[in-house]
């Protein structure tokens, strides 16, 4: 991952702490050492991404990659996705939707809203771990743009 001026931050929005931990472990195993900032609910995550005033100015100049679960306790991940992609400061940040739903309408909706990658969490652990490790390898080579 782009390691030049500022390190890329991985913002992980995942309500299940177990999943969050497993995702982090497997990303690390793929050799990604970027800082991962975990959030377990949508409100805190939006606070971080958009700032307390909701303008998104806080994210200007950051290099952020968002890992997003759709099932959150206080809002759906789709709301967050919509906000990220409609804010001029965050819309270029890649968003990876990582969720259990494989409903085709849901997938279409996420891509329509500007999601960059949609991954369904595999049911069994081996598949899950494997998918996350591959995602980690993908992270290692991808370029993340600096937001305006």
């Amino acid at each position: 991952m782009n390691q030049q001026a500022k390190p890329v931050l991985i913002v992980m929005i995942e309500d299940d702490e177990g999943h969050a931990r497993l995702i982090e472990k497997n990303i690390r195993r793929a050799g990604v050492s970027n800082e991962i900032i975990p959030f377990t609910n949508g409100t805190e995550a939006l606070n971080y991404l958009m700032g307390p005033d909701g303008s998104g100015l806080v994210s200007a100049g950051r290099q952020i990659l968002v890992l997003l679960d759709l099932n959150l306790p206080d809002m759906t991940g789709i709301d967050i996705l919509e906000k990220i992609k409609s804010n001029q400061h965050t819309r270029r940040s890649p968003v990876v939707v990582l969720t259990t739903t494989d409903d085709s309408r849901e997938i279409q909706r996420c891509y329509d809203l500007g999601a960059n990658v949609y991954i369904t969490k595999p049911v069994n652990y081996e598949g899950f771990a494997n998918a996350i490790r591959q995602l980690g390898l993908f992270f290692a080579v991808m370029q993340v743009p600096e937001t305006e």
């Binding site: 497993l22 259990t100 899950f128």
Partner: protein
């Protein structure tokens, strides 16, 4: 007043009979009057001819008398002409009068007496004329003066007057009778017409009432029908919603169950990975205890031994159980997920060649069946239908797989598939096998999720038939079984012939 069907028939028949009676009365009266008229007119004609004959006869008498008197006064033979004429005509005319009274004895007797009187009169006239011709006027006048001739003529006149009056009376009577008959016919016709009008009016009224009731009843039926249809479609929609809700529920539950399961499995794997490091370390440290070890060392060795047992026996065993249980749970959740996903799939109604579809399903298991000497026969005539192809393929594939899986070990498998039309625009397909059969108490249970029947010698999770039932219900049908343990099973699947109506109802 409500009119029943029987009452309508009864009153119609009654009205018809009344009308017929009135008509018969009119016709009868008419026939009677025609007869009466015939009798009257013949009487009338007879009376008229009697009268004219009598008048002519009387005229003859008077003519003869007039001729005699003229001749006696003038002795001019020219005055004898009326006499001669009358005398010549008299016998015929007398005959005519007498024959007119042939069937009336009393009148005939009077006529015979008249003949005598008239004959005598003519004799007296002849006598006087003969005397006058021979110039004996005095003798002739003496005879006239004797008044014999006048007396005879008076007698005849009385008869004529009475008989003419009688004939006139007959004419008057006939006319009166005729008029009475006409009057009667008028009344009969009038009353008959009244009856017929009443009957027709009554019939029309009855029919009108009955028709009105029919229309009313029809309207009520239509209203009830509409209500019934509305209720049926409401129920169907409710059922559809409930079904949908259950499937959504299943979907949500499985997703929410799966998230913690991933954690359990994930951290079990982590645990296993850590166990590797632990085992490596413990295996190095723990050496077999030395014979001369001190108490401390022995204690140390005991701890190390316990750690070794934990690392190499207890922990792997616990992890093994966790893994097998989570795998099983994962399988079950996946099964439910598959069912709910199937339920959520959008059905696509299309024209299905059921015969071809059944043949394909049979071909898929052909190898397994033919190898053991068995066979699949498809009979019946499947109707044209509109349904979801994938669903039907899965249903019959599943049933045939089961037939193969649970076949009887001691005889070759025979499967008979029969397709036909069922009640209420449905298709019925029976799949009959001679397999190991299902015990009666399990006939309902086999369609429940995760339930299986008989000896558990085949792999499976108890999902197949539950899945088939759910699919059959999705396409507007159901599945049932008839089976005897050790003999075979017959699965009967019904489903809507036109899937669009099922989808439209939900």
């Amino acid at each position: 007043m409500p009119i029943s069907k029987n009452a309508l028939v009864r009153s119609t028949v009654l009205f018809l009979l009344l009308g017929l009676a009135a008509l018969l009365a009119i016709v009868g009266a008419m026939v009677w009057l025609v007869n009466e008229t015939a009798v009257n007119s013949s009487n009338l004609i007879k009376a008229r001819s009697e009268r004219s004959a009598l008048i002519t006869l009387r005229g003859l008498g008077q003519d003869a008398e007039t001729g005699q008197r003229g001749y006696l006064l003038t002795s001019n033979p020219a005055y004898l002409a009326p006499y001669n004429d009358a005398r010549a005509k008299f016998p015929d005319q007398m005959e005519t009068v007498q024959s007119a009274y042939a069937d009336e004895p009393e009148q005939a007797a009077l006529a015979a007496r008249l003949r005598q009187t008239m004959t005598e009169k003519f004799a007296e006239l002849e006598q006087t004329i003969e005397l006058a011709k021979s110039g004996r006027y005095a003798e002739a006048l003496a005879i006239v003066n004797a008044d014999r001739g006048r007396a005879l003529m008076d007698e005849a006149r009385v008869f004529f007057a009475r008989s003419i009056e009688r004939a006139d009376q007959t004419v008057l009577d006939s006319i009166a009778r005729q008029q009475r008959g006409i009057e009667m016919l008028r009344w009969v016709t009038f009353l008959g017409a009244l009856v017929i009008i009443a009957v027709v009016g009554g019939s029309i009224w009855t029919v009108w009432q009955y028709t009105r009731q029919l229309v009313e009843a029809q309207r009520e039926v239509a209203v009830l029908n509409a209500d019934l249809e509305r209720r049926v479609s409401e129920r169907t929609a409710d059922l559809g919603r409930a079904n949908e809700e259950i499937q959504r529920f299943a979907y949500i539950v499985t997703h929410d169950l799966r998230a913690p399961l991933v954690n359990i499995m994930g951290f079990t794997s982590e645990l296993e990975a850590s166990l590797g490091a632990l085992q490596e370390y413990v295996g190095e440290v723990v050496a077999p205890p030395a014979a001369d070890a001190s108490a401390d060392a022995a204690d140390e060795t005991g701890k190390a031994e316990a750690a070794r047992v934990a690392a190499f026996e207890d922990l792997p065993e616990a992890i093994g159980f966790i893994r097998s249980s989570t795998r099983k749970m994962d399988g079950l959740i996946n099964a439910i997920l598959k069912l709910s996903r199937e339920g959520r799939r959008t059905l696509k109604p299309e024209t299905i060649d059921l015969q071809g579809l059944l043949e394909n399903a049979a071909n898929a298991v052909h190898h397994q069946i033919a190898d053991a000497g068995g066979e699949v026969v498809i009979v019946g005539r499947p109707p044209a239908l509109l349904s979801d192809r994938l669903t039907l393929e899965q249903i019959f594939g599943n049933l045939l797989d089961n037939a193969v899986k649970y076949r009887s070990k001691d005889r070759p498998l025979r499967v008979r598939i029969e397709a036909g039309i069922g009640p209420g625009n449905t298709v019925v397909v029976k799949v009959e096998d001679n397999g190991r059969g299902i015990a009666a108490q399990d006939h309902e249970r086999i369609f429940e999720l995760f339930r299986r029947s008989g000896s558990q010698d085949q792999a499976g999770e108890g999902i197949g038939l539950a899945h088939v039932r759910s699919m059959a219900r999705n396409i507007g049908g159901d599945i049932g079984v008839q089976s005897e343990l050790g003999t075979g099973s017959t699965f009967e699947i019904t489903f809507a012939r036109d899937l669009r109506k099922v989808i439209g109802a939900i």
